[in-house]
Amino acid sequence: MSGGQTIEVVVKAIEQVTPLIKHFQLASPRGEALPAFSGGSHVIVVMRGEARVHRNPYSLLSAPQNLDSYEIAVRRMDESRGGSHFMHDRLRVGSQLEIAHPVNLFGLDKIARKHLMIAGGIGITPFLAQLEDLHGGLVPYELHYSVRSAEHAAFLARLQAREQEHVHIYYDSENQVIDFEGLLSKQPLGTHVYVCGPAGFIGRVLDAARGCGWSPSHVHWEQFSAPPTGDVFQVQLARSMKKIVVPQDSTLLEAIEAAGVDVPYLCRGGVCGFCQSKVIECDGELLHYDHFLSDAEKAGGKTIMPCVSRARANHLVLDL
């Protein structure tokens, strides 16, 4: 099943919106409506390079009401394992791509009394679609967006045009920082906080929320980080009777897929839990990089999330 059936799309427009971010508009080649989605959803884009296939998740930032096209934004990563470089360097208007059906792991709480959204850098993207859902509604909301400088602030015009009274922008270049503690300590009961951005940024918001007494059910976050690279290791797939090698810059999941074995996935970022696989044997150490398993499960060594995690072992056998 691997994230379900894919949809064929063609690149309709490309715009360099900041020095590092490109904005892509994707549409059906036959001009058909694309599947419906809700604010906060992402799609997995399948990129077929010569050497290998990349599958990266990107948030949909277009209005959920508009199904003529999807919009995504891709930040060029310094140490890209190839995905963002492929998107930046190889795609042209008219290029064909495959994407998986949209999945929402970062939806707004339906009965929240207030939404507090906090974005760092490229983490603004899921909020752009959510703002479309919230606009004109009855539930109060605020967006706090922290970004390097005005030059780097993607979609500033879009934010400023409509959402002025709800949107607060902080520029690093002007030493403006979000006071997470201050913000989280004065929210009315029933508020939900949503944070998307780099790992350290998310971590600071989560710490502040805990410090202010927020219960976990009111705190939501999403992080699309490139899965970590690491040393080469070998894996045996017991059920499909294959022995594979996971290269340095490839994830375990990618290596398994390259060997022709399907593993279900939704997020490819270690949060959804779909790719969870059973470890039958391991004579070394599992390197867990996911946010799904509990610490106890990680220590137990019986299970692994191949979309992000790796191993340092001579003999690793998975129940796949």
Binding site: S185, Q187, P188, G213, S215
Partner: protein, 204 residues
């Protein structure tokens, strides 16, 4: 035709202080005072700030004329308010939630009907399970909602009870609605009108 198998009857654990919270709002009715006192003992061991961020709302049992300070002897509490009945308490509670901030934890101690009513208010403010703790004590009498006329009969102690709305004899089921804070009551003699099972006091 006693219907079993549907048991949405809530289960409660003994009340404990939640160190993860910043503000603590405690509600009690009658014998619910004991669990609250126990939690306040835990609060006492915290920093003074925790005490100053704790409020207690309480309905004393009938005939109990002690002052607020006698009921909950912990100096420095943000508030100790006594009420003549649970409706008055719940009204104040609702107003308080309207002014409360994220980081608030709710503690409820008393009979299940009281807990249910408090939960219903809390739900309106999107308080989730991880923000609410409750301990059941005192009477097991149930609030029963007639599925025929929708009237709510309070303080039902028997397996079969007459609906205050339509007068039908209702069988009290274990099917509990959090939204209504009530158990479901279904016509007890539907199959053979006038033939009722033996009426027993079961919810004491």
């Amino acid at each position: 035709m006693l219907i079993t198998g549907i048991k949405s009857k809530p289960i409660y654990a003994p009340l404990r202080f939640d160190e993860g919270g910043r503000y603590h709002l405690m509600l009690g009715l009658g014998v619910g005072r004991e669990p609250l006192r126990r939690v306040l003992d835990e609060v006492r061991d915290q920093q003074a700030l925790a005490v100053a961020r704790t409020e207690v709302l309480y309905v004393p049992a009938a005939g109990d004329t002690g002052k607020a300070t006698d009921q909950f002897a912990l100096p420095g509490l943000a508030a100790v308010c006594l009420f003549g009945n649970s409706n008055a308490l719940l009204e104040d509670f609702r107003a308080r939630l309207g002014r409360s901030l994220m980081g608030t934890r709710l503690y409820v101690a008393g009979p299940e009907s009281f807990i249910g009513m408090a939960m219903k208010v809390a739900l309106d403010f999107n308080l989730n399970k991880d923000e609410i703790r409750a301990e059941e004590c005192g009477t097991l009498a149930r609030r029963v909602r007639c599925i025929h006329c929708r009237a709510i009969t309070e303080d039902v102690k028997t397996n079969i009870a007459q609906c205050i709305g339509c007068g039908l004899w209702l069988l009290v089921r274990d099917h509990y609605s959090r939204r209504l804070a009530a158990y479901m009551g279904v016509m007890a003699d539907a199959e053979a009108p006038g033939e009722l099972p033996e009426i027993r006091e079961v919810f004491l």
